[in-house]
Symmetry: C2
Subunit: 414 residues, 2 copies
């Protein structure tokens, strides 16, 4: 069963907004066992919508459309779909109740323009959009094919896909059961890891597919099992993961997370341990990534972004003589940073980073990409030196963040 | 003159990677006066590439293709293009020298697989890719139309677009001159600003188009002048901007920047002033955004992420009695945070944030979205209370960051 995605909106076509909807939808569809054949991005333009819909409907079993459902004049998707399916607009009771409910919550008067959001083509089925006033419309096309139109607002689209569209597509097309399992791999390059686990990979049962998803300084390994017996798939996944640990367990940072920040967040929360950070080259990015997750206040006591030497001394207690003798980018400094922030903020663990992110600022002995990381617990401090090859600042920052989080995760697990 | 974009790659189609290339390319093309008609994302699949190329070449003047140019088997774009243009692969001297040069820099041996990257269809023109081994290929098609194939690596694509592809497209299609001018607007909603400047907007000369590009808590205003007399366009833009200031100058945070962080970065650098941050609800995001920009160490002394009350006291010197009496989310606390970090880190300016980002943690008197921000200079501290309506954590954090940066920019400018 395969799908095309059409993302409608002038703001996407002119590059004002990065089209994250396409990748979000693709990931959800693939995780549910469907194939994505094409993503088309077009403007709020009737001909383009009609032509692209025709073409995609001919080529795939289902066409998922986002965007162009707002109450303003330039939003024309609903009208175009209505004509395409030779239908006419009627006021839908479910959609109207939903609009009324949302306006009552916000304390606004319902205007005629907003009431018009409850008008939908008579031939469609409305899938209720709990988070917004634009309706989600399911159209049955010829030959059992399906067209679904959703709002383009990312969080509404994502909620609708999760709760309405994907489950109904699975039922309609009797798709296979799919079980996904994520493993976060850290501390080894993709090709080395691939060589290491090759015999295991070759011995995987046919129902399991393996995908390597590399990110800055880490690798997400996804096992996908597909078939009609859910329990058998789960058993196959469990067995495969169990067999991987003796071969490559030392590189597996954790399971069932999308990012190392999420994994650290879960670990600290479940173990009831607290954390503090002392960041130089990562400039607050570790703190920012952790505090982006709701509930971080339960374990995150705080951090210091120690960009200048004076701050390393006054806010972290790094000794003046250490900075003089070894420099800001050194094992001695990073250890004192980690231990200093842990003591001052009275946390169970602390992370520290100091390095040269680039593009400039390197020296012959400490070139761009030289980064020291330390993780301190109440009893022990571990430090590591990294030498990233590139000069690109953002990449070096991201790699340092992931390396530091991986070291923290290891320290908590031990 | 209009363009279609084809982004090729299985990793895009399965949602493993967000397709930022499309928006980057669109922005550059639009800024150069070209129209983007469609973005198509397809997999590394010969039929899909051929069909999509045919369709897009029929519909638009130029087709820009990214991806599928790597040295591995699944990268088939070059072969498909070679067949499409009835050509054959030859070793291109320019491309070969480029591959050799890049391998020499990296200190690697040139393998046959890498040497094969210098093979290109005989009929194409190679535009040298200074940053990577995959060649950029320009094909002249029938009726003066053009097909360009570029690598999908974002920084290589962006460099090629900027330095090779866009200039050659402008020359080939004799496009108009385009002058863009960005203004960052802050402290007023889009619709209120639009009402305020309506008479000015209606009086703009025909050669100038206006675009509103809203971001979290701010608005980017883009004026685009288009025509064949560059000097006249520049004069028209200058005059329009000059006329806007008496009407809405109080809301214009700055010119010629993409983000408020970039504007603050430039201002602090040019004025030789230093900054420190004390972040609670923004969790290090202000520090992270500033330090993502090369050269931040010239003005950024450091910051404290003060998530717990203990850290607010011990690292920022907020008084225990202040926290007891007014709470962590209060004007008194945010002022003491800003003044505390400024004094301790000895900076010219300091920013402080404290609030409830959500989705939980609100109280009847301080609901989710309540945020206090303060900016301190050596002589004065300004504080502001914000009440964001939504419960979405990431949005509340981004709005707080932008509001805080706007207050800082105003303080520096005064």
């Amino acid at each position: 069963m395969n799908v095309s995605i059409i993302n409608i909106g002038d703001e996407l076509l002119i590059g004002q907004v990065v089209n994250s909807n396409a990748s979000t939808m693709s990931r959800m569809l693939i995780a549910a066992g469907m194939d994505v054949k094409e993503v088309a991005v077009i403007g709020d333009d009737g001909d383009a919508i009609r032509n692209t819909l025709c073409r995609c409907l001919a080529a795939t079993d289902a066409v998922l459309i986002t965007g162009g459902l707002g109450p303003t004049k330039d939003d024309i998707t609903k009208t175009i779909l209505c004509n395409f399916f030779h239908s006419h607009l009627v006021e839908n009771q479910t959609a109207l109740e939903n609009v009324k409910r949302l306006f009552a919550i916000r304390g606004f008067e319902l205007t005629p323009v907003n009431r018009a959001q409850a008008l939908v083509p008579e031939c469609c089925q409305v899938l209720n959009n709990d988070l917004g006033t634009a309706p989600c419309m399911w159209f049955d096309a010829d030959n059992g094919k399906v067209v679904v139109s959703m709002p383009g607002v990312p969080f509404e689209m994502e909620w609708l896909m999760q709760n309405r569209v994907v489950p109904q597509l699975q039922e309609h097309f009797h798709t296979d059961h799919i079980i996904n399992k994520n493993l976060l791999v850290q501390g080894i390059g993709e090709s080395f890891f691939s060589d290491l686990v090759e015999p295991w990979e070759l011995a995987l049962p046919k129902c399991i597919r393996l995908a390597y998803l590399p990110q800055a300084g880490m690798l997400k390994l996804r096992l996908t099992a597909r078939g009609n017996d859910r329990q058998a798939l789960q058993n196959a996944i469990d067995k495969a993961v169990e067999q991987l640990y003796p071969i490559a367990g030392q590189y597996i940072a954790g399971e069932d997370c999308e990012t190392l920040a999420e994994l650290a967040h879960k670990l600290l929360t479940s173990k009831g341990k607290t954390l503090a950070t002392a960041e130089s080259c990562t400039g607050g990015t570790i703190a920012s990534q952790l505090t982006a997750l709701a509930g971080a206040s339960r374990y995150f006591r705080g951090g210091v972004v120690a960009y200048s030497n004076e701050v390393k001394e006054c806010a972290l207690g790094v000794q003046h003589s250490t900075l003089e003798q070894y420099g800001a980018v050194s094992e001695q400094t990073v250890r004192e940073m980690a231990e200093g922030v842990r003591e001052r903020f009275d946390s169970d663990y602390a992370i520290a980073t100091t390095g040269i992110a680039g593009p400039d600022g390197g020296t012959p002995t400490k070139p761009v990409g030289t980064v020291w990381i330390a993780v301190a617990s109440r009893t022990h401090t571990e430090a590591a030196l990294l030498n990233f090859p590139g000069r690109r600042r953002q990449q070096n920052i991201e790699r340092s963040v992931n390396q530091a989080l991986a070291m923290l995760i290891k320290a908590i697990a031990n």
